[in-house]
C-alpha cells in the first residue's frame, strides 16, 4: 500500500509540475474546470442544485464480491489457474463421445473442488462485509433542519452535511474543519490509520468559520478538486458571504483518522464513502506466493508434459492398431470391432484423425496425473496451519494481550525457508520505550545507571560472572518493582542533580537552561488528570516524552500548552521556590528526518527572544557559534561513550536572538509558510536554516531504548539455525554496533568489517563543497573498502576448519553508494560472506532497497521484520513481512504477512511453525504427486493391454472419488499435523531449520524420487495383479476374472498402497492420523458396497462386484496383500538404507532422543548437541560456504 502511495505522491508532483506552475493563485484558478469540479453546498444538502450533483453517499463496501456478481466473478478467479482450466476443458469434452468417462463422474469432483474454494472466498468476503456494516453503522452527530445536532449512521451522511465529531472518535468522511472546541479553531488529529504516524497533527480552521456560532447559519459553497488519492494535498475554495477563501490540506480532516486532545469539532462533509482519500488509497497489498508453490507450478508443468508424452505414445499405438484393423484389400482384421462401419474415432481409413481424437481422449484419461484437489487441499491445510499459529500460546504476549496472527495463510511454509532476516532495530529489537538515563551538561556527565548494553558487553567479555549479573539485574528489577516511585521513561539517578541538588553544581545556570530546553523544545501535549493532578504527556516520539518526563522529574514541570504559550512549574534556583513561568511560543521549527533537529523560538518572561534547539550531533555541532563551543570536546567524548553504551543521544543548544534579526527572519519564514506550492517545504527549511545557527552548546542527552526481552537468545538461536540476520537501523554507527553486541549479533572474536565515509580526506572534500568530487571520492573509497573486505573474508574462509566469523557494518552514506548498480554486486557478495550485517543510518527507502538487493541477488528467502511505518516498504519487498504489533501504530502490521507481539516470538515462528509447515507442505505435495502418479500410471499400463483404445481400468466413479474421498483426508492430516520432532526439539536443535533453508525436503531429487516411487508402485500394482489374476479361475466355483473384478482388485490395491505409503512416510501418529488413514480405506469398501448395491443401470460394472464376486475370493485378498506389501517395499528399503547411510537431521535427532530415553538415566547432556549433529553442523557449514561461492 505504501509503495503505491509513494508512487502516487510522486505522480502528483509530476502532475503539478506539468499542469500548473506552483503558485496558489493558479492552483485555485483551476477550480471549476476539469478535475476540480466538485461543488459542496455546506449545511444545505437538500438544495436542489446539490441534489442534482448526485454525489455518492457515505456507504462503504470493501468486499470483493456482491451478491449479484459473486458467482461469475469468483468462477473467473478460479479459472485463472492453469490446472482448473484444464479440468474445465476436460469437463466440456466429457460430454462428447471422446470421453472415456461419463460426464457426471468428471464434473462431480470439479464441482466439489471449485465449490469448496468458492465457499472459502464467500466466507472471507462475508467477514469483510461484517466489518463494512460495522463501519457503516457507526453513529455520528449531524446538524439537522431543526437546528440541533441529531445522531445518524455514517452511511447516511451526505456531501454538505455539517457534523460534530467528539474526542477520540474517527472522522466519518473527509471533512472541512469549521470550528473546534478551541477558540482559535484548531484541533489535533491522529492519522495512524492513514500513514502509520502516531504523532498528532495540528489542523486549523479558517478564521471566518472558527466562530462556533457561525455554523448555525453557515451557508457556504465549497468548490474543490475531484476525489483523488493524494493524502497531503487539497485544493479548493470556500465561497462565503460573497468572498472567496482558499482552502488547504490544513483544513481537511480525513476519514479514518482520529480526533485527539480536542473535545469536539464541527466540519462539513466534502468527500463521502469511496470518494474519501483513504478509500481512494486502498489498493490490495502485493500478493506473495511461496517458493514452494512456484516450484509446484513447475512440477505441474512436468506432469503436463508427462501427460502429453504418454498420451501421444498411446495415440501412436492406437493409430497404428486402428490402421491395421482394415487391410488394404478391404478385409477386416479385428472384425468384432466392425472397422468397416464406424465413426471417425475408430476409422482405419482415417487413422490419423482417429489417433488425433484419441489423443484428446487420452489427455482426459490420464488426467489423474494432474491432482485436481491439490490446490484445494493445500489451501485448506494452510488455513488450518495458520489457525495453529494463531493459537500458539507460546507466541502470546501477556502485557499487550496480543497473540500471533498469520495475516496471510499462503506463506506458512516460506517461514521454514528463511535464509536472511532483515530487521528493524527500534521497536523491533528494542522496546521503543525510551528511558532518560544519562546526560552531559556543560562538559560534565551525569547519570549513574548502567545500561543493558553495558551489562551485556561486560557479560560477553567475561568481566562479570554470569550468575552475578543475573542476580544483579534481578535485584535491580525487584528494586524497581518495589519502589513505587519508578516512573516510566525515566531511569535517571544522580545525587548531584535530583531533588533540586543541581543548584549546587558549578554550572547551575547551564543546567537550568539545559532542562528548560528539554521542557520547552518539543511538541508534546500535557494531559492533566483532573483527579490526581498528575500530568502525562502525549508526544510525537517516545524520546520526546522521555525528555519532558525527565525535566518534570527534575523540577521543570511542563503543564499547559496553548497555541501561543508553554507554561512550566519551575524551581527558582536562587530562592528554591516553585514558580510558574510562561513562555510565549513564537515558532516551532519542526523535526524532520532530513533536518534531524527541531527548534522552538520563544519569548521568555524576561522578554528575551530565545531559540531552543535539539538535534543529532551530526548536524548540531556544525551550527555552533564560536563562543558556544566551550565544552565541545568533552561533550563529544560523552556522546561517543553514550553511543557505545547503546544510547540515543541528542545535542541540546540554545541561542538568544535580537529583535531585529528576528523580525527580518520572521517575515521570510511566514512568507515561506504561507506559500501553497511544492517548494514550500524547501523554503521553510531554508528559512529555518538561517536562524538555526550560532548556537551555544549546553550538553547532550542519552536515552536508552531497552532491548526487548529474549532478543539476544532469539538471535543466537536463529544464527545457530544458519539464518543470517541483517539489522537495518536509523541509528548511529556506534549505537548500532553496540546494540549488535548486546543482542549477540556481533560476538567477541568476530572480525568486524566497517565501511564508512567518515574519513578525513572525504571530510576535507566536503568542506570544499564540491559535490561531484565528494561523490566520486566516496564511490572510490567504498569500492576500495569493499574490495579489502572481500579479500579479508576470502583469505580466511578457505581455511574451513576454523571458519572465522565476520560482521559487516556499513553506514547510511556509504550504503547509498554501495547500493549503486555498479557496486551492489560486490557489496552483496561481501555481505553474504559475513555472518551478520548492520546497516546504520538507513532510510526507509534504503531498507527496502537492501531487502530487494538481498532477495533478488541471492534468490533466497528473505524475511523482513519491523514495527513502524518506515518499515512498510521493507516488509512488502521481502518474501515474508513480519510486523511487530508494538507501540508504533498498526501500519507495519497492516502491511505484514505475520504479526507477532515481540521479536523473540520470531524464533518459535520460524524454527517451530516454519519448520513444521515447510515439512508438511513439502511432504504433502510430494505425496500428492506420488499418489496421483501411482494411480494414473496403472491406467496407462492397462491401456497397453487394451490396445490403447481409451478404456479405463476402473469404473468411472471409483476414479472420480479417488482424490476426493479415498485419499484426501490423510493428506490433509499430514499437512496439518505432521511433526518430525516436537516443538521443544525444534528449538533445541536449531540446525534442523537448515532442512528448509537448503530446501532439502523439496529438492528436485526428492520430488523426482517420489514421482519415481509412484511409477514403480504403479508398475508393481499393475503387473503383479494382472499376472496373479490372469485367465485362470479365481474362485472355487470356476468363475474367471473379468473386467470389473480386475478393476476392483487393482483399485483396492491402489487405495491400500497409497494410504499405507502415507502411514509409513509420516512421523507422527495421533488418533487423527489413524482415523483418517484407516478410515479412508474403510470408506472405499463402504463406497464399494453401497455403490454396488445400486441398480445395475447406474452402478454398471460395479454392480454387486464386491459382495458377490471379489470378497468371497481368496485370491483377491491374497493378491491385494501381496501387491500392497510389494509396492511399499522399495520405499521402505530406500528409507532403511537412507537412515543408515545418509540420515537426515531429524532422523538423527529422533534417534538420539530415542536412545537417550532408553537409557532413562537423566544425564546432564541435555544442553549439548549430539555428536552426530555437531558433525552434520560442521559439514553443513562447509556446504553453506560452497554454496555461497557458487553464487
Amino acid at each position: 500500500m505504501a509503495g503505491e502511495k509513494r508512487i502516487g505522491m510522486k505522480l502528483s508532483k509530476l502532475y503539478s509540475f506539468k499542469c500548473f506552475k506552483p503558485s496558489s493563485r493558479e492552483d485555485h484558478s483551476q477550480i471549476g474546470s476539469r478535475g476540480y469540479s466538485r461543488v459542496v453546498f455546506c449545511n444545505d444538502p437538500d438544495n436542489p442544485e446539490a441534489l442534482q450533483l448526485n454525489y455518492k453517499g457515505n456507504y462503504v463496501s470493501t468486499t470483493k464480491y456482491t451478491a449479484a456478481n459473486f458467482i461469475p466473478k469468483s468462477l473467473f478467479e478460479q479459472f485463472r489457474r492453469v490446472a482448473n482450466i484444464y479440468f474445465l476443458v476436460v469437463a466440456f469434452v466429457s460430454f462428447s463421445p471422446l470421453a472415456p468417462y461419463t460426464a457426471p463422474s468428471v464434473l462431480a469432483p470439479l464441482l466439489i473442488v471449485i465449490g469448496a474454494t468458492m465457499v472459502k472466498e464467500g466466507v472471507e468476503d462475508l467477514r469483510r462485509r461484517k466489518q463494512d456494516v460495522e463501519a457503516n453503522n457507526r453513529r455520528v452527530e449531524v446538524y439537522g433542519k431543526n437546528r440541533t445536532f441529531g445522531e445518524t449512521k455514517w452511511k447516511n451522511l451526505r456531501v454538505g452535511d455539517v457534523v460534530k465529531v467528539n474526542k477520540d472518535e474517527y472522522f466519518p468522511a473527509d471533512l472541512l474543519l469549521l470550528s473546534s472546541s478551541y477558540e482559535d479553531g484548531i484541533c489535533y488529529v491522529e492519522t495512524m490509520n492513514l500513514d502509520g504516524e502516531t504523532n498528532l497533527k495540528l489542523k486549523h480552521a479558517l478564521e471566518i468559520t472558527s466562530d462556533e456560532e457561525s455554523i448555525k447559519n453557515f451557508r457556504g459553497v465549497i468548490k474543490c478538486e475531484d476525489p483523488n488519492e493524494h493524502l497531503y494535498s487539497f485544493v479548493g475554495t470556500l465561497h462565503f458571504e460573497g468572498k472567496q477563501y482558499p482552502l488547504s490540506p490544513q483544513q481537511i480532516l480525513l476519514r479514518d483518522s482520529k480526533l485527539k486532545n480536542t473535545d469536539y469539532v464541527h466540519g462539513v462533509v466534502v468527500f463521502t464513502g469511496h470518494d474519501t482519500k483513504v478509500m481512494q488509497n486502498a489498493t490490495d497489498p502485493p500478493s506473495k506466493r511461496s517458493k514452494i508453490e512456484k516450484k509446484m507450478d513447475q512440477i505441474i508443468y512436468i506432469l503436463f508434459s508427462i501427460l502429453i508424452v504418454i498420451s501421444f505414445a498411446g495415440s501412436l499405438f492406437f493409430g497404428i492398431a486402428t490402421r491395421r484393423d482394415m487391410s488394404d484389400n478391404g478385409k477386416m482384421r479385428r472384425w468384432y470391432l466392425r472397422p468397416d462401419e464406424t465413426t471417425v474415432f475408430f476409422d482405419p481409413q482415417r487413422a490419423v484423425a482417429a489417433a488425433f481424437f484419441h489423443f484428446l481422449t487420452a489427455l482426459m484419461l490420464y488426467g489423474y496425473l494432474i491432482p485436481i484437489s491439490l490446490y484445494v487441499s493445500i489451501e485448506v491445510v494452510k488455513v488450518l496451519q495458520s489457525i495453529f499459529i494463531n493459537q500458539d500460546q507460546e507466541m502470546y504476549h501477556e502485557e499487550t494481550d496480543r497473540p500471533a496472527r498469520a495475516r496471510t495463510s499462503n506463506l506458512n511454509e516460506e517461514l521454514g525457508q528463511v535464509d536472511t532476516i532483515l530487521s528493524d532495530k527500534t521497536g523491533t529489537l528494542t522496546c521503543n520505550s525510551m528511558e532518560f538515563v544519562k546526560c552531559s551538561i556543560a562538559g560534565t556527565a551525569y547519570g549513574r545507571g548502567m545500561t543493558e548494553v553495558e551489562i551485556a558487553l561486560r557479560k560477553q567479555k567475561g568481566l562479570v560472572p554470569q550468575e552475578e549479573v543475573g542476580d544483579d539485574s534481578l535485584s535491580m528489577k525487584e528494586k524497581k518493582a518495589n519502589s513505587k516511585k519508578s516512573v516510566k521513561g525515566f531511569n535517571f539517578w544522580d545525587e548531584r542533580i535530583v531533588d533540586g541538588q543541581w543548584i549546587h553544581q558549578p554550572h547551575a545556570e547551564l543546567i537550568q537552561k539545559f532542562f528548560r530546553v528539554l521542557a520547552i523544545c518539543h511538541t508534546a501535549i500535557p494531559d492533566v488528570n483532573s483527579d490526581t493532578g498528575e500530568i502525562t504527556y502525549e508526544a510525537e516520539s517516545p524520546d520526546e516524552a522521555a525528555f519532558v518526563i525527565a525535566s518534570r522529574e527534575l523540577g521543570f514541570e511542563f503543564f499547559t500548552r496553548s497555541q501561543t504559550s508553554i507554561s512550566l512549574h519551575e524551581i527558582d534556583h536562587t530562592t528554591g521556590e516553585k514558580v510558574d513561568r510562561v513562555y510565549e511560543l513564537l515558532h516551532v521549527l519542526e523535526f524532520s528526518s532530513s533536518r534531524k533537529r527541531m527548534s522552538v523560538i520563544v519569548r521568555n518572561p524576561e522578554n528575551r527572544l530565545l531559540l531552543l534547539s535539539k538535534g543529532a550531533d551530526s548536524v548540531m555541532f556544525e551550527r555552533l557559534a564560536k563562543h558556544g563551543r566551550q565544552n565541545e570536546k568533552e561533550t563529544k567524548e560523552h556522546i561517543k561513550k553514550y553511543a557505545e553504551a547503546g544510547l540515543r543521544t541528542l545535542v541540546i543548544t540554545y541561542r538568544e536572538i535580537d529583535e531585529d534579526e528576528y523580525r527580518i527572519w520572521e517575515e521570510e519564514f511566514i512568507n515561506a509558510k504561507t506559500l501553497v506550492t511544492e517548494e514550500r517545504d524547501d523554503l521553510i527549511d531554508a528559512a529555518a536554516d538561517k536562524i538555526e545557527k550560532d548556537l551555544i552548546l549546553l550538553g547532550s542527552t542519552a536515552v536508552e531504548d531497552k532491548l526487548q526481552k529474549g532478543v539476544p537468545d532469539c538471535i543466537e538461536k536463529l544464527s545457530q539455525a544458519g539464518v543470517k540476520i541483517w539489522v537495518l537501523t536509523g541509528d548511529k554507527t556506534e549505537t548500532a554496533i553496540n546494540i549488535g553486541y548486546a543482542c549477540s549479533l556481533l560476538r567477541e572474536g568476530m572480525k568486524k568489517i566497517l565501511i564508512t565515509l567518515d574519513s578525513s580526506d572525504i571530510e576535507a572534500l566536503e568542506k570544499q563543497g564540491d559535490k561531484d568530487a565528494v561523490a566520486k571520492a566516496s564511490f572510490q573509497s567504498i569500492k576500495k573498502q569493499l574490495r579489502e573486505g572481500m579479500l579479508q573474508a576470502a583469505a580466511t574462509t578457505d581455511d574451513s576448519d576454523n571458519p572465522e566469523m565476520f560482521g559487516l557494518v556499513i553506514d547510511g552514506k556509504s550504503l547509498t553508494f554501495a547500493l549503486d548498480t555498479k557496486l551492489e554486486k560486490e557489496f552483496l557478495e561481501l555481505a553474504i560472506r559475513c555472518n551478520s550485517v548492520i546497516c546504520c543510518r538507513s532510510s526507509p527507502k534504503q531498507k527496502a532497497l537492501v531487502t530487494r538487493l538481498v532477495k533478488n541477488g541471492t534468490g533466497r528467502t528473505t524475511l523482513a521484520i519491523g514495527d513502524g511505518a518506515n518499515d512498510v516498504g521493507m516488509l512488502q519487498e521481502a518474501d515474508i513481512g513480519v510486523g511487530i504489533s508494538g507501540a508504533e501504530g498498526m501500519q507495519a502490521v497492516m502491511a505484514s504477512d505475520f504479526a507477532i507481539a515481540q521479536f523473540r516470538f520470531l524464533e518459535r515462528l520460524l524454527l517451530v511453525h516454519g519448520h513444521w509447515c515447510y515439512r508438511r507442505i513439502a511432504l504433502m505435495i510430494c505425496y500428492f504427486f506420488y499418489k496421483n502418479l501411482t494411480f494414473g500410471f496403472t491406467l496407462f499400463w492397462y491401456e497397453a493391454y487394451a490396445s490403447f483404445s481409451g478404456k479405463p481400468a476402473y469404473n468411472d466413479w471409483y476414479m472420480s472419488c479417488f482424490n476426493v474421498f479415498f485419499t484426501s483426508l490423510p493428506v490433509i492430516a499430514l499437512g496439518v499435523f505432521d511433526q518430525d520432532v516436537s516443538a521443544r526439539l525444534c528449538l533445541k536443535y536449531p540446525l534442523l531449520y537448515q532442512e528448509g533453508v537448503q530446501n532439502i525436503l523439496f529438492s528436485w531429487e526428492r520430488i523426482l524420487g517420489w514421482m519415481l516411487n509412484g511409477i514403480i508402485s504403479s508398475m508393481i500394482i499393475f503387473f503383479l495383479t494382472i499376472n496373479a489374476m490372469s485367465a485362470q479361475a479365481f474362485r472355487k466355483d470356476g468363475q474367471v476374472v473379468d473386467y470389473s473384478i480386475l478393476g476392483v482388485t487393482m483399485y483396492s490395491s491402489v487405495v491400500w498402497t497409497v494410504n499405507c505409503q502415507m502411514a509409513i512416510s509420516i512421523n507422527y501418529f495421533t488418533w487423527i492420523q489413524h482415523c483418517f488413514i484407516w478410515g479412508s480405506i474403510g470408506v472405499w469398501y463402504l463406497f464399494l458396497v453401497i455403490y454396488g448395491s445400486l441398480p445395475p443401470t447406474f452402478s454398471t460394472t460395479a454392480y454387486q462386484v464386491f459382495v458377490e464376486t471379489s470378497a468371497p475370493s481368496q485370491i483377491c485378498w491374497l493378491t491385494l496383500f501381496l501387491v500392497t506389501f510389494s509396492a511399499l517395499l522399495p520405499y521402505f528399503t530406500y528409507r532403511a538404507f537412507q537412515i543408515k547411510f545418509r540420515p537426515m537431521y531429524h532422523d538423527i535427532i529422533v534417534e538420539q532422543r530415542r536412545t537417550e530415553r532408553a537409557e532413562t538415566a537423566p544425564r546432564g547432556v541435555l544442553g549439548e548437541l549430539p555428536v552426530q549433529v555437531e558433525f552434520t553442523l560442521h559439514h553443513l557449514r562447509a556446504n553453506l560456504s560452497r554454496r555461497d561461492s557458487w553464487n
Partner: protein, 349 residues
C-alpha cells in the same frame, strides 16, 4: 479494521487495565490439540525395526507362497490349442477364407487326462489377442435393453449393430453380435460326457442384468453375421452363454466358462472332443484353446501368485540378512570420514 488500534506511543501505552480486561483476553485457549501436543506414536526406523519388519514379512510371505503354490499344483488342467490344428491342412494357407467359407467345420481332438480330475471339471474356451476391452467394443451394448423389454429401443450405443431395417436388435451391440460360437461335444470311451451349461453365469447377472422377459429379436439378421445365433424363444436370462460372453474380459487373453463336467475324470482317460470350429480368430491372429480344469480353493492353475510370494518373501529375508550384516559390520561410526562423503549431497527422501 480501523477500530481498536494501538494507543499513541507515550506514557499512555502499555496501560495496565488489569483484571477487567483479562476477561476479554485474547490468550489462546490451551488444549493439547491447539498446541499440537497430542499424544502420538512416532515410528522410527531403528535397525531393530528394519530387520524385524523384513523378517516378519518374509516369515509371513514364504509360507503363504508355499501354500499358494501347493494349491496351484493341486489343480489339474488340460489346455489344448486347436485353432490351427482344426483347419484341414490344405486350407491352412488361407485360414480366413476357410473360416469364412461355408460347410460344417467339424474337427476332433483327443485329450489325455494326466491326473485324476475330481468333479466338477470346468470346461473353458480361451481366446488370445482378442480385445474384449476395446473401448468401442465395451461400450457397444445397452444395459437397459437387456434388462427389460420396455427399453427395447435404447440402442443408441449399439451402432452399427443397432437395428435391422429400423427394427431394434435384441441384444444389440458388438459384444452380443460377436458371441463365441465354437461348440464342443465331449465323450469318453465313446460314451458322451455331459457338459452342464447351466449355472455358469453370475447370479446377479442372471437376476438383475438380463431380463427374463427379454427375448432375442432380429439377432444376427444384419448384412454381416458375427458369431452365434440365439434361440428367440428363450429369454436372455436363460441364455447363459451370452451372459458369460457379455461380461467382458479385462485383458486380451481370457477364458470363459463353457460348461461343467459333473463326473470325475480318471488318470489316463482319453477325452474325445468333437468341436465345431466356427469362430473367426484367424483374421486377427488370435488363438483358441479348449481348457479342462479343476479348481482348488484358490481357483485355477496359476503358479504366479505362489512364486511372487516366495520371491518377495525371499527378497525380504535377504534384505533382513543384508541389513543385519551391515549393521554388524559397519555400524554408523561417528565421525567416520566416509560418512561425511556420503552425506556430501544432502537430499533424497
Amino acid at each position: 479494521m480501523s477500530s481498536n488500534t494501538a494507543s499513541s506511543s507515550a506514557g499512555a501505552a502499555g496501560s495496565v487495565d488489569s483484571s477487567a480486561a483479562r476477561k476479554n483476553s485474547k490468550r489462546p485457549k490451551y488444549s493439547k490439540f491447539t498446541q499440537q501436543e497430542l499424544p502420538a506414536c512416532k515410528p522410527i526406523l531403528t535397525p531393530g525395526w528394519v530387520i524385524s519388519t523384513f523378517l516378519i514379512v518374509s516369515v509371513i510371505f514364504i509360507p503363504l507362497g508355499v501354500i499358494s503354490l501347493f494349491a496351484s499344483q493341486d489343480v489339474v488342467e488340460i489346455v489344448d490349442r486347436y485353432d490351427t490344428e482344426c483347419i484341414p491342412a490344405p486350407a491352412r494357407t488361407n485360414k480366413i477364407a476357410y473360416i469364412q467359407g461355408g460347410g460344417d467345420k467339424v474337427c476332433t481332438r483327443d485329450l489325455k487326462v494326466p491326473k485324476r480330475m475330481k468333479q466338477p471339471v470346468y470346461v473353458y474356451y480361451q481366446l488370445e489377442n482378442f480385445y474384449q476391452n476395446h473401448r468401442r467394443y465395451v461400450k457397444s451394448r445397452s444395459d437397459s435393453q437387456l434388462r427389460s423389454p420396455k427399453y427395447e429401443n435404447q440402442i443408441s450405443a449399439c451402432k452399427p449393430e443397432d437395428d435391422v431395417g429400423g427394427q431394434p436388435i435384441v441384444p444389440c451391440g458388438l459384444i452380443a453380435w460377436s458371441l463365441f460360437n465354437d461348440t464342443y461335444a465331449l465323450s469318453r470311451n465313446n460314451v458322451s460326457l455331459a457338459v452342464n451349461k447351466k449355472g455358469i453365469a453370475w447370479k446377479s447377472d442372471k437376476e438383475h442384468k438380463f431380463g427374463n422377459k427379454v427375448f432375442p429379436k432380429n439377432f444376427q439378421k444384419g448384412n454381416l453375421t458375427g458369431g452365434a445365433t440365439l434361440d428367440p424363444k428363450i429369454p436372455l436370462s436363460e441364455q447363459e452363454d451370452l451372459i458369460v460372453w457379455m461380461r467382458t474380459a479385462a485383458l486380451p487373453t481370457f477364458r470363459k466358462l463353457y460348461g461343467k463336467i459333473e463326473s470325475d475324470l480318471e488318470m489316463g482317460d482319453t477325452i474325445h472332443v468333437t468341436l465345431k470350429n466356427n469362430y473367426n480368430t484367424y483374421s486377427f491372429n488370435g488363438k483358441k484353446k479348449l481348457v479342462l480344469s479343476t479348481t482348488s480353493w484358490l481357483g485355477g492353475k496359476n503358479d504366479f501368485l505362489g512364486i511372487a510370494y516366495l520371491t518377495v518373501g525371499g527378497v525380504c529375508f535377504f534384505l533382513a540378512l543384508a541389513f543385519t550384516i551391515m549393521y554388524l559390520v559397519k555400524p554408523r561410526r561417528l565421525g567416520d570420514p566416509s560418512y561425511l562423503s556420503w552425506n556430501r549431497n544432502p537430499g533424497g527422501r
